[in-house]
Amino acid sequence: MLVDLAQNTLDGLGAGASYAVLALGFTLVFGVLRVVNLAYGPAIMLGAYAATWTSLHVRPGLATLAAITVAGSVVAGAYVERLCFAPHRATGLRPGAAVAAMVASFAVWMQFEEAATLALPNHLYTFPSLTTAAPLPLGPLALRVETLVSLAVAAAICALLWWLLYRARFGIAVRAVTERPTAAALTGIDPAWVSVRVFALASAVGGAAGFLVATTHGQVTPHLGMWTTLKGLLAMMIGGLGSLPGAIAGGVLLGVLEAHSQWYLGPQARDLVAYLLLFSLLALRPRGLLPARHTG
């Protein structure tokens, strides 16, 4: 009983680690651009598809596949930024520009899904698994190697982002643009250039999460795009829009909650519980668990 509870929490932490990384990428873009990028997940899906395509033709190592997933996500993300966000940033003061950009990113999502199914027409492709090693015994519990790797990667990405945003010169510019875009521009920071680099960074972070998800699940489908966008949005909104600690908290909470509700109530209830949590939070505490200090 207690063992089940602990085991589910452990498994949930593994899933939650990738959700947290997904939400970090999402919230980075939102913080700077104040726009939701619906094509975030589909761009990651395209990266995972590029890696899958490569693994079908040559047999590269896992590190190469991870690099291809990240690079593919960045390239797809750059395309989204150029087509959907850069033109609207110029008209950023016009009301509705954010909505138009969001709908444009949805249109690009459609493009990505079709491109993926044209490149790899089957419904499902296996993705090389991280390891075939048996779970490590941890007292009465079993610690899956994937969980361990996911947690380690998530921790490394958090540390890297923290350093980039709070210790590097780039981070000062990003935070300035996030908090006061006009004042940042007046001090000589080019918001457009900051946005481009944040977009690339977020896509790379998302690509890393996408690789973790694909290799943990051992498969990719075109549905991965929608799945990634939805999980990232859920974790981001639960934690608090635009908040980095919130993204981590939201992702971990979502992962653990899903693991428990799946175990005790079944797969449909798992999703129901996740959406119910988001809906109730929005109704009662719209700014999330750990809200960003600055509002746009």
């Binding site: 087509l83 033109p87 008209t91 249109a107 493009q111 859920l234 909104m237 959406y275 809906f279 929005l282």
Partner: protein, 298 residues
Amino acid sequence: MDAYTVGVFTNIGLLSFLGLSAYVLLITGELSFGQQAFFGVGAYAAGVGTAMFGLPLVVATAAAMASGALAALVVGLPTLRLRGLYFAMATLAAAEMFRILFELLHWQRDVGGERVGPDGTQGFRGIRWVFEQGIEAAGFLIVVYGVLALLVAALVFVERSRLGATLRAVGEDPEQAASLGIDILRLKLGVVAAAGAVAGLGGALYAHHTTYVEPRNFDIMLGVHGLAYALIGGLGTALGPLLGVVLDIGLLEGSRLFAGYRMIVFGGLVALLLVIRPRGILDERIVHGWRHRAWRPR
């Protein structure tokens, strides 16, 4: 018209209801990712009415509209104080909950020795009222467009009235509208209910066109399409969403142009179009121009 053309035109008509549902909210300044849920509620409610309890389609459709409006109010009441993305996310979460509830819904009864009704993920089969009445596909097409014409006429009428001006004022600047004495919350509740009823109406007709609905028909993809139709077609007039559907279904799928690459072409066109016209093709400026031209003596 051959069966394929009739099918394409019927789909255009049915999806227009979803686009109009999103449109009504958009002009009031609310973005919903969840109108597909009320489309689904309408589809299920109308199916229950005709297939399970033998009601005529008109009565079942009225019940579907009421159910759509009621469901929209249940979602809208706790979330209407949210703005922008927060409201959009709340409607998305609610719509996904509705979809999962459809998956969990098992309610069947014997009708003429057959089990009829929603059967969880297996969906709801045998919504055959139209077929049993001997109405052919072309006949149903006329029904769909008749209802759609009435709805568009009603919307155009409302938009030209004082209420229409009030709605757009709230959409443009809610604080200023409130300072003019407009009761925003009450107005928005009305709009949410009306948008839910419009979606429910479309869902009722949709269920009777396909004779079969399943929960995954009403996923987020359907909702974002409805939203995109309204934004592509334009937020200036109720004809905008219809234009959006025609462009997607009619022009690209119907003509079978770019077979296999349709979404790549359409997606790119939409993204570019939104750069040039962020509020769609028939936006407020164009529509305003029409009206003035109509009044100007030649």
